[in-house]
Amino acid sequence: MGWEETQVRGYEEFVRTAQRYHGRPIFALFCGDKDAQGKSWCPDCVTAEPVVRKELHNLPDESVFIYCLVGDRPYWKDPNNEFRKNLKLTAVPTLLKYGTPQKLVEEECFKSELVRMLFTED
């Protein structure tokens, strides 16, 4: 069985979804909300998303890719939002391997080499 993608919005939905897939490798990309035209308020997220999507075929079998919209800009800027407090996220975009210290932040997500390394290496 290959890999699968699921899309969520907000912290609670993210946590519920991650719990549902407990036991399988989970990768998550956190981005700022998108407007009616599908464009995110976060310019780096706009750049990172296609790079990450292009590497998804490298995901190990059985893994889950969670695409998570974190919220609007004011929510994100709040230093006490749940993503910052509980998941220790410092910026968007963040691409991480859930449950490990392995993550890529901001411009690191623009580099397909690094994305591939995160997806394929231990």
Partner: protein, 493 residues
């Protein structure tokens, strides 16, 4: 397959009558064996000059099965976790002191080993990952494989699944570091742990016997006791060999007065298991070094910290003719970190007669690369390197110990200025008022230039760093005297 092709190539190379034919073009400009402080610093520096670099890093698991990621000893099983656990112990002390400063909490304060260890290991994990990102970003190839020389300019890399690959390079840098030594007595590998295991131990070590009197032994004994554990240190002869003995004894006294037991002039001869468990129960039999007395003791954990041996004996150095000191395993190099084989260099703890410190390895690695690829000429300065021992009472030093200064310059030519001090922060909670201590050793014949600086007290590392810079500039006693102190801090003394 690639493997067969490479083996074929190497075979042809080595078949040629003991001549040393080298390939016309190498796979890499530089292969670094060992991804620790020295190796990684050199690799990253070389990448800056657009050299094609590979790093091979592999951790042979300990007898207890412990292993770790990229970064070397300092990051994984040395300086970093050590300082964090030392901090954990200091915080325990601070919590006790805090009551005198007015903080009120009714619960008894207890320590949870697993919580601390998980946090420390998590941080280390982020460092391991960070190094891998940095290497990849700088286009340095990294392989988690054991490197050994098989012929001129040729190395064999074996990964954990046993897959072998051959690589060639114009130059090599050996930065394989060291691993803890075992005693060679019955039960040592089966039942004892070392610093390689301690920082990721998945259970609280409990009542611990630390064997050794190195800074590793004393630092570990110190924080384990600070976390509330029953700790005993078994010392063969002196404490902190190589360090100023006056200071070493003061450290020992402080630790003794603060609950660490010392058994002096004994060595273990046997370790047996009384009961399995996490931790289990061990029986240690020890013999006196001065007579025939035998003693026994029971402990949950036995931590060996009797020295470290260079990882130079099983990397094929004989195949390329690199000389090592047969007795110690260390590699002699010239002042440009070059071994007797011109295209093979070495940095870090494996070097003969050089300091075993992370910043030294990093500095030596970087400067070496700049000399090789950027036309620089600066060599690594191994003189007046500051250090700190993170025992419960921290000890910072730079320059000569009192004994070495007396030996080198003559006792009548040195002047020692010293002072006890009582940190202001210790007054209110009534902590010891006569334990902190500082001394400088001056060369009378050279304007009373400061040739040795020693301080025993909180934040010794922070204090010592500035004085190291001053010593490098040749500070004299008079200049120190004329520098106005900051008040109220320990450093003003």
């Amino acid at each position: 397959s690639v493997q067969a092709h490479n083996e074929d190539k190497a075979q042809k190379l080595m078949e040629m009558n003991g001549l040393k034919p080298v390939p016309d073009s190498y796979d890499y400009d530089l292969i670094v064996i060992g991804g620790g402080s020295g190796g990684l610093a050199a690799a990253k520096e070389a990448a800056k000059y657009e050299k094609k670099v590979m790093v091979l890093d592999f951790v042979t698991p300990t007898p207890q099965g412990s292993s770790w990621g990229l970064g070397g000893t300092c990051v994984n099983v040395g300086c970093i976790p050590k300082k964090l656990m030392h901090q954990a112990a200091l915080l325990g002390q601070a919590l006790q002191d805090s009551r005198k400063f007015g903080w009120q909490f009714t619960e008894e304060v207890k320590h949870n080993w697993m919580t601390m260890t998980e946090s420390v290991q998590n941080y280390i994990g982020s460092l391991n990952w960070g190094y891998r990102v940095a290497l990849r970003d700088n286009k340095v190839t990294y392989e988690n494989a054991y490197g050994e020389f098989v012929g001129p300019h040729t190395i064999k890399a074996t990964n954990k699944r046993g897959v072998e690959k051959l690589y060639t390079a114009e130059r090599f840098l050996i930065a394989t570091g060291e691993r803890p030594r075992y005693l060679g007595i019955p039960g040592d590998k089966e039942y004892c742990i070392s610093s390689d295991d301690l920082f990721s131990l998945p259970y609280c070590p409990g009542k611990t016997l630390v064997v050794g009197a190195s800074y590793v032994a004393l630092e570990c004994a110190g924080f384990l006791a600070g976390l509330g554990l029953d700790v005993t240190v078994m010392v063969r002869s002196i404490l902190l060999r190589g360090f100023d003995q006056d200071m070493a004894n003061k450290i020992g006294e402080y630790m003794k007065e603060h609950g660490v037991n010392f058994i002096r002039e004994f060595v273990p001869i046997k370790v047996e298991q009384i009961e399995e468990g996490t931790p289990g129960r061990l029986k240690v039999t020890a013999k006196s070094t001065t007579g025939n007395q035998i003693i026994e003791g029971e402990y949950n954990t036995v931590l060996l910290a009797i020295g470290r041996d260079p990882c130079t004996r099983k990397i094929g150095l004989d195949k390329v003719g690199v000389h090592i000191n047969e007795k110690t395993g260390k590699i002699p190099v010239n002042d440009e970190e070059q071994t007797n084989v011109p295209y093979i260099y070495a940095v870090g703890d494996i070097l003969q007669d050089k300091l075993e410190l992370t910043p030294v390895a990093i500095q030596a690695g970087r400067l070496l690369i700049r000399r090789l690829y950027a036309g620089a000429t600066t060599k690594c300065d191994y003189v007046n390197v500051p250090t700190t021992v993170f025992t419960p009472l921290e000890y910072g030093a730079c320059g000569y110990s009192e004994e070495t200064a007396a030996e080198k310059f003559g006792e009548e030519n040195i002047e020692v200025y010293h002072s006890h001090f009582w940190p202001l922060e210790w007054t209110v909670p009534s902590r010891d008022n006569n334990k902190c201590y500082a001394k400088i050793i001056c060369n009378i014949q050279d304007n009373e230039r400061v040739i040795g600086f020693h301080v025993l007290g909180p934040n010794a590392g922070e204090v010592t760093q500035g004085f190291a810079a001053a010593i490098k500039c040749g500070v004299t006693k008079e200049q120190l005297d004329s520098t106005v102190g900051i008040h109220p801090v320990c450093a003003e003394v």
